[in-house]
């Protein structure tokens, strides 16, 4: 006995009575049938065109068109199917399905079938949706606590959840827990699917963190976005992993507080707060993780634990720089800073000689006071002309001080555009666009390399200029470090790179070409910031963590995730003997 019933319409001869075809499909839908199957016949109506037409004239009923689109290239056929899914929802299927379809040529045929089939419970996901399920996932075994909000490839919300800010993806299932207990349920499900990639997503901005994949699982923490002041006296704030830094900044602003994050408010809390957080307030207030006082984590085996200086201090140490290997953080407790009005500067310079500009920027940044953090961005260099963006914060409300601090930066090239305002950190974060329910729509895979630069030497400026002229890099960014970042000893957190002057990120489009160009610069570098690195070569792990840190992390990995469930982002394999 089939689960789903419908009518079969023959496309030969239908051209004589096109209205009848549309009317029969409408009648089947009104009568509660599940599907209209179109039977192709030479010289009759084109199956795909007819399916798209009927989808436009109906609202819900599924349409089966076996063999449609066969005359097109696979890419064109895929595009057509995807497009109709967007326009009409997932209800048109071009393969044979186990439908019970009874031939119908007249309204009476449809009515008779409706009578026979009677009123039934319809499955939540019709066959057309189930047809898009991926192999190796026990969809029927999704924990009951998560089933109502889980998103499968054919679901209406899938397009808004499949891809991330920088990466296109096609996961087989997105689980969306709302509580630590539901996170534990999601992890139990993930443990039964060790054969599939597992991505953890907070804001979906991960570069190294693969928060989408092809055919695997995603645990999306977007719903866990609480922001709550716990102790106004001590400025302790509890934040969920799914909040964005823009949202955090807006809440803290009401108290005259701020917590430095990166340089973009759209980034989610979870990924950044478990990696580092080199941002626009770092030189005055330290990294984001330097403010982390406690974190609640669900471990790979589903156990909820709290880590602070008093409880599980080892785990707190590991989460602060290598968190992706140890668990799913479900809440962070930060001690935030009092931050008033700041100077927010965005300068555009044209440089006739990018090597010279880099040298000057290095010298100015090196001697800047702690209240000043200015990042440098650039792109492909043209002969005799590079465009450089300098943007940053002067944590001082006095306009004269702001101007004084920025003036040496502004003279590292020919200033062509400037915007300097006194504002709040929350307003700086608020410049990030909101991401609505439609989510991110990136495609492809980012190619990004990262390094710490102990010192911006003349030799580095020369080699970096060469890299920018090579055309292999479309994005080049120096994050200004030093200051308060160095106040925390390297051994205090798994993020150990406390002393570099800069963090450098480049992005290109050709992975091999970029790697070749980048590897030639390796002697300038000491380690890498794992958030911005996409090179999958295993030796990158040794760049992310110095040997003593890695040894300690591996010991902890054996304790907290011996089965290596968390492995999508700079995996520390517990099996490897140091």
């Amino acid at each position: 006995m089939a689960d789903e019933w419908g009518i079969a319409l023959c496309l030969a001869g239908a051209q004589a009575e096109p209205e009848q075809l549309t009317a029969l499909a409408g009648r089947a839908e009104a009568g509660g049938l599940d599907v209209v199957v179109l039977r192709d016949d030479e010289g009759g109506l084109d199956p795909w065109t007819t399916a798209a037409w009927l989808a436009g004239r109906t609202d819900r009923i599924q349409i089966g068109v076996p063999g449609a689109l066969d005359g097109l290239t696979p890419a064109m056929a895929g595009k057509a199917r995807e497009s109709l899914g967007i326009l009409a929802g997932t209800r048109v299927v071009t393969t044979e399905m186990a439908w019970e379809a009874v031939p119908a040529a007249a309204p009476e045929d449809v009515d008779r079938l409706i009578q026979e089939v009677g009123v039934r419970d319809r499955p939540r996901r019709p066959a057309a949706v189930r047809a898009l399920r991926r192999d190796g996932i026990d969809y029927d075994g999704i924990p009951a606590s998560l089933a109502d909000v889980a998103i499968e490839p054919g679901d209406p919300g899938y397009r808004g959840h499949r891809s991330t800010y920088m990466r296109g993806g096609s996961p087989g299932l997105v689980l969306r827990p709302r509580t630590p207990a539901e996170v534990a349920d999601a992890l139990a499900f993930a443990r039964r699917h060790r054969h599939l990639p597992l991505g953890l997503r907070s804001g979906g901005h991960g570069v190294s963190g693969r928060s989408t994949n092809d055919g695997g699982l995603i645990i999306d923490l977007g719903a866990m976005n609480e922001i709550r002041v716990l102790d106004e006296q001590r400025r302790i704030v509890r934040v969920g992993p799914g909040a964005t830094w823009k949202q955090v900044a807006a809440v803290l602003d009401r108290y005259g507080w701020a917590l430095g994050s990166g340089d973009y408010g759209g980034v989610g809390v979870g990924g950044l707060a478990t990696a580092g957080g080199i941002g626009l307030l770092s030189r005055e207030h330290g990294l984001t993780i330097d403010h982390l006082r406690a974190v609640e984590v669900v471990l790979a085996d589903g156990t909820p634990v709290r880590a602070s200086e008093r409880e599980n201090p080892d785990l707190l140490w590991a989460i602060r720089g290598a968190g992706a290997n140890f668990g799913v953080a479900t809440a962070f407790e930060f001690e935030v800073s009092e931050v008033g009005e700041v100077g927010w500067a965005q300068l555009v310079l044209v440089s006739p000689d990018i090597e010279q500009t880099l040298k000057q920027y290095g010298a100015v940044a090196r001697t800047a006071p702690r209240d000043t953090t200015v990042f440098l961005g650039s792109g492909p260099a043209q002969p005799g002309q590079s465009v450089v963006q300098l943007y940053g914060i002067v944590d001082n409300p006095d306009p004269e001080v702001v101007v004084e601090r920025l003036t040496p930066f502004a003279s590292t090239g020919l200033l062509v555009q400037q915007r300097v305002v006194l504002t709040s950190y929350a307003q700086v974060m608020a410049e990030a666009a909101d991401v609505g329910p439609d989510g991110h729509h990136s495609r492809g895979e980012p190619v990004s390399r990262s390094a710490f630069l102990p010192r911006l030497t003349d030799e580095f400026a020369r080699d970096a200029a060469r890299l920018l002229h090579s055309g292999e890099v479309y994005f080049f960014q120096l994050r200004h470090m030093g200051g308060a970042i160095t106040d925390t000893p390297p051994s205090a957190t798994a993020f150990a790179h406390r002393t570099p002057e800069f963090q450098l990120t480049v992005m290109g489009s050709d992975r091999d070409a970029l790697n070749r160009a980048w590897d030639r610069l390796a002697h300038h570098f000491d380690g890498l910031y794992l958030s911005f690195e996409t090179d999958p070569r295993p030796e990158r792990l040794l760049d992310a963590f110095p040997p003593d840190v890695l040894t300690r992390l591996r010991t902890l990995k054996r304790r907290y995730d011996p089965g290596n469930l968390f492995r999508d982002n700079f995996n520390i394999d517990p099996e490897v003997q140091a």
Binding site: G43, T49, A52, T73, A88
Partner: protein, 295 residues
């Protein structure tokens, strides 16, 4: 003065993105004659134009639809002929067929299509139009066999028969494409913004089409002249072609109709309000003015 005497059509040129359906419904409601979609399947953010045309036709009652123009290298003519006839039947004769030779060869190849040189593209289009017309011609005897340089059709059954005489409108700019349009097309569908000298390019292009039509034993009036306009807007003071008050649009379009024989005006911009004003304030006025002048 060149005027081929066709009735006037007013329409929109719509980006086949997620707002395309709403823009189509607006045009249908506003009383425009035509909604057309560009066709660049290799653009990740775009919908498949044929699927969109079929779905949009189902969601409208009155407006005529066309690709502007469909990418023939990615749409095999035998498949397209059957699909077009089917949609014409289902929609009650509301489909026209804008066709192009397909630019952006690398992108076409990325979608599995053939990478043709521009010259090959012209020849393939000529071959394709022949196949499409042959398959529509259900009154002819026998099946369709075609062993061409670019396409092979083996014993295909003809049909279905379109509900009306579907026009084939060709996107053409260069001399060989203009000649093909004159010889084989029912219409010429370029974009004003891409003509090398704007309206000043029209006399030469029209002459080439007329000449090719005559060479094929056809009347120049057999080829309707349509035109897309990408940069348009209503503004209180006149600033340029289709950038000014409605009265200025009216004068400019009437002049294009009477002087250069343009009889279909298709505006881009994906703007609901502009489309509604175009339908309400410009189209009737142009019709009146041209009718008066034609006498």
């Amino acid at each position: 003065m060149t005027d081929y005497g066709h009735d006037l059509l007013f329409g929109t040129f719509v980006t086949p993105g997620e707002k395309a359906l709403d823009l189509t419904l607006t045009a249908d409601r506003a009383g425009l004659d035509l909604v057309t979609f560009q066709d660049h399947p290799y653009q990740p953010a775009f919908l498949d134009t044929w699927t969109l045309l079929s779905y949009a036709a189902a969601r409208t009652e009155r407006v005529r639809l066309s690709g502007n123009v469909l990418n023939l290298p990615l749409r095999p003519p035998a498949v397209l002929a059957r699909a077009a006839a089917s949609l014409d039947i289902l929609s009650g004769g509301r489909l026209e067929l804008g066709l192009g030779a397909g630019a952006f060869g690398d992108s076409i190849a990325a979608m599995g299509g053939r990478h043709l040189t521009p010259a090959q593209g012209v020849d393939a289009l000529a071959e394709g139009i022949g196949i499409i017309r042959d398959l529509w011609n259900v009154d002819a005897r026998g099946r369709v066999d075609h062993q061409g340089t670019y396409y092979t059709v083996s014993g295909a059954k003809r049909g279905p028969r379109p509900a009306h005489d579907i026009s084939i409108w060709v996107g053409a700019y260069k001399p060989r494409m203009l000649a093909l349009t004159g010889a084989l097309g029912d219409g010429w569908l370029p974009t004003m913004d891409y003509l090398p000298h704007g309206p000043a390019s029209l006399p030469d292009a029209n002459a080439r089409i007329d000449e090719a039509a005559a060479g094929a034993g056809r009347s120049p009036a057999a080829v309707r002249r349509l035109m897309n306009f990408m940069q348009v807007g209503f503004s209180p003071t006149g600033r340029g072609l289709l950038d000014g008050p409605p009265a200025q649009w009216t004068d400019q379009l009437a002049d294009l109709a009477l002087t250069h024989g343009i009889s279909a005006f298709i505006i881009g911009g994906d703007d609901h309000a502009v489309a509604e004003r175009f339908a309400a304030e410009v189209a009737p006025a142009v019709r009146d003015l041209v009718k008066r002048e034609r006498g």
